[in-house]
């Protein structure tokens, strides 16, 4: 097995230096999500302004796949409209389960190898599920 298939350089980089990690002073939406199989958790905070994601932060603890995926997602959705962000999340989930070959935005493509490891798909999609949950909640 080639480990580098799953742990691409980009993933290790995002894991070691996560982008948009931390908290917002005044988030307008936020959601926490737990991966019950391993106890990992993520907290996502969003600042929505004029229907767009003006800023975003994440925090929590998790494996390199979940942390890198969260970091990459925050980069991909910043500045996007809510609908665009939800589409990014939906498309990414299809991509990472092998249901679609449409390449996701930016660095997220590096998570393609995860589709060969079903037990890690939950890690890769934790942040995206948190985004969907945050958007469903009332402001």
């Amino acid at each position: 097995m080639n480990l580098d298939e799953i742990y691409r350089e980009t993933i290790l980089d995002h894991n070691q230096s996560p982008r948009n990690y931390g908290h917002l002073d005044h988030p307008t939406k936020s959601a926490g999500l737990l991966n019950p199989t391993c106890g990992d958790q993520i907290q996502l905070e969003l600042l929505i302004h004029d229907g767009k994601i003006a800023d975003v932060r994440f925090s929590g603890q998790g494996c390199s796949i979940s942390m890198a995926s969260a970091s990459m997602m925050t980069e991909a959705i910043k500045g996007k409209s809510i609908d665009e962000a939800l589409l990014i999340a939906a498309d990414f989930k299809k991509f990472v389960t092998g249901d679609s070959s449409d390449k996701p935005l930016g660095d997220l493509e590096a998570l393609q190898g995860v589709s060969q490891f079903p037990s890690r798909v939950k890690c890769a999609t934790l942040a995206h599920n948190a985004l969907e949950k945050a958007m469903l909640l009332d402001e």
């Binding site: 290790l12 199989t37 391993c38 106890g39 990992d40 603890q61 494996c63 390199s64 796949i65």
Partner: protein, 407 residues
């Protein structure tokens, strides 16, 4: 050198498997053990030659099937030193056994203001049934404070036991820390307070001789699949008088004496607690597993499991950036650890690429993770087919993992 107690390639066919081009190094027996050929053969033989429902029909297959099931029950009774096979109830596993005690005895004899004393190292299956019992009845849980090395002292147990304590429950061996708990001494304290003593034996019965009478306990729960038997079969042992006094919780076929339109009376033990068709093949398979362990000798298994767990602790604790949890000695069965800066999932993934199977996660012990102040851990666990060659591979694998993520 610590050799495996049995010839792994001869007795355990799965251990011939190659994983990603490497010899399988199975270090996840605390989750479930592998099965020897003799257990696999007994399952096949049962379905090929004997299969019939038990305790019902009068034909040759049914007689043989019933006899085989009761024969297995008797072996298990001897294995744990029960006074009689009537005290051995077949369940799906430890979880169902513990839930049954909480319902069957708890709902009848536990009341408002009563207390359950237990430890923060319990598996969720020996915590949540008691949480729910306390919620149903208006009772309380009281937790024994752990020492910093993950052991418990009798002084701390005494501190939690009061005249309202009705149930004391404890795992005999922790599935994360490897701690061997003093169940016999705790049972004495429980009885002095008029409480019953429940023991979660999921991690102890596979690894050490079990004598429920010498321990002086009241209920014991354990699983077949962690002691070389099939999944889906486990045991609830209880003192006969307590089982007689408790009420059944699963109602239906075979657990009754007489039924009319409005009411029913219950069958004698053990049938009273075995409503529905049991996992007959599983029980017979567990009997074969008991035969296998008995032939090797549980004192030898105990020594082997302790040496491996203690050796693993010493060698892992010696590595840079590795934290091992629980007491150095005595310990048995497991070594839970973390590598600084590398998540257990990632550790497990890299080890798997070298054919090494470990567990990563919270091990169904989230309150213990909170106490350890970690989200999760990696865990290597051992059984009679492991040797120090497997610990060598684990140590090498950990070094590979560190190099991989710290490049």
């Amino acid at each position: 050198m610590i050799t495996a107690l049995v010839d792994i390639t001869e007795d355990f066919p799965i251990l011939k498997r190659q994983i990603h081009g490497h010899r399988l190094i199975y270090l996840d027996s605390a989750a479930t053990s592998q099965k020897p050929q003799s257990v696999i053969d007994v399952l096949n033989h049962y379905y090929e030659t004997t299969n019939a429902n038990v305790l019902r029909s009068v034909h040759t297959l049914a007689e043989e099937s019933t006899l085989a099931l009761e024969n297995a029950r008797e072996k298990i009774a001897q294995f744990i030193h029960a006074t009689s096979p009537r005290e051995v109830i077949f369940t799906r596993g430890t979880t169902e056994s513990l839930n049954t005690i909480a319902r069957a005895w708890g709902d009848k004899f536990f009341g408002p203001g009563d207390e359950i004393v237990l430890s923060p190292m319990e598996h969720h299956s020996n915590l949540i049934p008691w949480q729910q019992l306390a919620k149903r009845t208006g009772g309380h849980l009281k937790f024994i404070e752990l020492q910093s090395d993950g052991t418990i002292t009798l002084d701390e147990v005494k501190r939690q036991i009061t005249d309202r304590t009705r149930i004391v429950t404890l795992s005999a061996v922790s599935n994360v820390l490897g701690t061997i708990n003093p169940v016999a001494e705790v049972a004495r304290l429980a009885h002095q307070a008029g409480a019953i003593m429940v023991v979660d034996g999921a991690q102890s019965v596979p690894h050490q001789p079990t004598d429920v009478q010498a321990w002086g306990i009241d209920f014991l729960a354990f699983s077949g699949h962690k002691m070389l038997g099939p999944t889906g079969i486990g045991v609830l042992w209880g003192k006969e008088a307590l089982l007689e006094a408790a009420d059944p919780v699963v109602f239906g076929g075979e657990m009754i004496a007489y039924v009319d339109r409005e009411d029913a009376t219950w069958a004698e033990l053990p049938a009273k607690f075995e409503g529905g068709t049991p996992h007959i093949a599983g029980a017979i398979g567990l009997g074969a597993a008991v035969d296998y362990l008995t032939a090797i000798g549980m004192p030898r298994v105990e020594e082997h499991s302790r040496i491996l767990a203690e050796e693993a602790y010493a060698r892992l604790a010696n590595l840079n950036g590795v934290t091992v949890y629980g007491p150095p000695i005595p310990r048995t069965g497991v070594a839970a650890f973390n590598i600084t800066g590398i998540h257990p999932h990632d550790v497990s993934q890299v080890l798997d690429s070298q054919g090494i199977a470990i567990r990563a996660g919270h091990h169904c012990a989230q309150p213990l993770m909170h106490w350890l102040d970690v989200g999760s851990t990696a865990r290597a666990s051992f059984y009679l087919y492991n040797s120090d060659r497997d610990i060598d591979a684990l140590v090498d694998g950990i070094e590979v993992t560190k190099r991989y993520f710290n490049r």
